[in-house]
């Protein structure tokens, strides 16, 4: 029993901090709330340290509901970093919109706890509780500017589609339980591999699970909510929502497909091929048409999900390939570069009056905001996959894994879409540096060193992962070896 509680100390810390944030927030005067983000960031750092200290542990607890292993540790530290970065990006933006409330940070922390549970769960029920905790907190974050109509609309759309996705997942999981009589990932996997499971129903369960996950990660044809939600949500919240839930969902996808459904890959690989091709097509082509940068980044994140699904195919097709570990590495790179790109939009929204996230608004900012434009350039190059940034290596490992698994033609198509996507990333750089705008946005003079620190960390992450990938790549491979070995 004591052992159980020790295993979730990081989660307990975050929950306790969230409660404290909710309780002390109403007692503080408005100017006193500026330190609240640091309470949240501090709890993330402490939790990450305590996760790090248990990195060599390998055990299951809570009646085989949670497995603490290298896989969980990798995802937990990544998620805690994402949460901390999101809080760094948020403070000034919320303050300027007069929505600086402890609730916001509490929601980020609770969503992070849900994601951490998703990454460490090895039981369907535990997994679903984590999923719902993450999802409910995310809906509220999307609608945090509750007097701003797009934000409320985003929250409603996110809530409705997200509930559908949860229902699909739940039904799929129910069928798995009905077929095998167990909620434990390993036991279900053994039962399915052992045969004697009704094939037709299993296919229905797989289709439902894939549909649910496709909704959650915004893969075509279930992607249509993503652009509206990411555009309407407060920009720092959108930075968190484009990254955090996707990381957690991919952790779950890896676990479902590598532990439960590994023996059934002939069923789900063709389905995923169709979905990933459609996703890359939708993401890469529709992003070309967007003039709103948040919307463009939303479609770009859809395209990135398409690449990630290719790696799931690679991991499932060839046992022992590095498809899954390529996903882990890609997620780490994607987290820093995507949050950084949103962070620059937050910076511009804070410092320029009437900034509306469109291409016209960033026209010519290369001269007036050299730092912001320079940092944006790094993120755009990384998202496009140009060396020496993190995005290049991430794509390199990912496509190498796809080729290695025998799907060279898929990798070729992926690279072609990646070339198409370079157009809309580089277009931002062209607008920033090579065009002049007639209408100059008036500066507000509102700076924030939290935000600057967050952007600096993101740039450092993009470049460090791009130059010295071996640490993270090694951790990713280690994580997968341990996950599939036990």
């Amino acid at each position: 029993m004591q052992h159980d509680a020790l295993a979730i100390v990081p989660e307990l810390m975050l929950i306790a901090t969230a409660l404290v944030l909710l309780l002390i927030d109403p007692m503080l005067p408005p100017e006193g709330r500026r330190g609240l983000s640091w309470l949240g960031i501090f709890s993330c750092i402490t939790a990450a340290i305590s996760v790090w200290l248990s990195r060599d542990e390998q055990f299951t607890t809570f009646n085989h509901g949670i497995a603490l292993d290298k896989f969980a540790v990798f995802f937990m530290i990544l998620l805690l970093g994402v949460a901390g970065l999101a809080m760094l990006l948020s403070e000034k933006h919320l303050n300027l919109r007069r929505r600086l409330l402890g609730d916001y940070y509490a929601l980020i922390l609770l969503a992070t706890v849900g994601m951490m549970v998703m990454a460490s769960a090895i039981d369907l029920a535990t997994f679903f509780v984590g999923l719902e905790l993450m999802a409910l907190s995310s809906y509220l974050l999307a609608g945090f500017f509750r007097y701003d109509e797009p934000s409320v609309e985003a929250a409603l759309k996110y809530f409705l589609t997200g509930s559908f996705a949860s229902a699909f997942l739940l039904l799929g999981m129910t069928l798995l339980y009905g077929l095998t009589g167990s909620t434990n990932f390993k036991e279900i996997g053994d039962a399915i591999n052992g045969g004697g499971v009704a094939g037709g129903v299993l296919v229905v369960a797989i289709v439902l699970l894939i549909g649910g996950f496709a909704f959650k990660v915004a893969a075509a044809p279930f992607h249509s909510w993503a652009p509206d939600v990411y555009q309407g949500a407060p920009t720092p919240a959108a930075a968190f929502l484009t990254v955090g839930p996707k990381i957690a969902a991919f952790a779950a996808i890896i676990k479902f497909f590598s532990i439960i459904l590994a023996g059934e890959h002939t069923t789900w690989v063709p389905l995923l091929i169709i979905i990933s091709l459609a996703t890359m097509l939708v993401g890469a082509t529709l992003a070309l048409l967007q003039r709103n940068l948040k919307r463009m980044l939303a479609y770009s994140s859809i395209a990135h999900v398409g690449y990630l699904l290719l790696a799931v195919i690679a991991g499932g097709q060839k046992t022992g390939s590095f498809g899954y570990s390529a996903i882990l590495f890609y997620l780490a790179a994607y987290a820093v570069m995507n949050m950084g790109a949103f962070g620059v939009l937050v910076y511009m929204a804070n410092s320029a009056k009437g900034f509306r996230d469109t291409l016209d608004d960033v026209t010519g900012i290369g001269r007036r905001y050299p730092w912001a434009a320079g940092i944006m350039t790094v993120f755009m190059l990384s998202l496009a996959g140009i060396p020496p940034t993190a995005g290049f290596l991430a794509k390199f490992y990912l496509f190498a894994a796809v080729v290695d698994s025998g799907y060279a033609w898929l990798a070729v198509i992926g690279v072609l879409f990646s070339v198409v996507s370079a157009y809309y990333y580089l277009r931002v750089i062209v607008y920033m540096y090579m065009r002049e705008s007639e209408a100059v946005l008036e500066p507000t003079g509102e700076g924030s060193w939290d935000l600057n620190l967050g952007l600096g960390l993101a740039v450092a992450g993009v470049i460090l992962i791009g130059i010295l990938p071996s640490q993270i790549l090694g951790a990713a491979q280690d994580a997968m070896v341990k996950l599939l070995g036990f």
């Binding site: 409660l19 309780l23 007069r98 929505r99 007097y147 009437g354």
Partner: protein, 138 residues
């Protein structure tokens, strides 16, 4: 053991036949009225007033929701109370944490002014004003 189900079916058929017989007979033999008063709801002989389409304050909904939430959480405390000795000090520590979380939720609601029944006080959301919308459209 093979359960004998046919009496149940007969009973079900008999109930269905009785109800449809009563309804059919009253439809065929009964009187018909088509007055102004016919469609009005019967409320113990009291004449109804006003429109039914009244907008209720959202507070009714909120209070009902708070009640349901806290009422439901009490179920867990009852379950613990039944097994208090078996659960021991570990169980005690866990229920203290559980009640602590509930208490902080209650305190949060209280400080937010959600428990006030009078005109809304909005202490904490003083900075959170609808004008923000105009400013954002700026």
């Amino acid at each position: 053991m093979e359960a004998v189900l046919w009496p149940l079916l007969v009973y079900f058929a008999a109930a269905l036949a009785l109800v449809s017989a009563i309804l059919t007979l009253s439809y065929l033999l009964g009187q018909r009225h088509r007055d102004a008063e016919t469609g009005k709801p019967y409320e113990s002989g009291i004449v109804s007033t006003g429109s039914a389409r009244v907008r209720f304050d959202v507070k009714f909904y909120q209070n009902a929701m708070f009640f349901v939430i806290f009422d439901l959480e009490a179920v867990f405390i009852f379950a613990w109370a039944l097994a208090v000795r078996q659960a021991g000090w570990t169980g005690y520590a866990e229920i203290v944490i559980f009640i602590g979380v509930l208490g902080s939720a209650l305190a949060y609601l209280w400080r937010q002014g959600q428990l006030d029944w009078g005109p809304r006080r909005r202490r904490r959301l003083a900075m959170d004003i609808p004008k923000e919308n105009d400013r954002l459209r700026g």
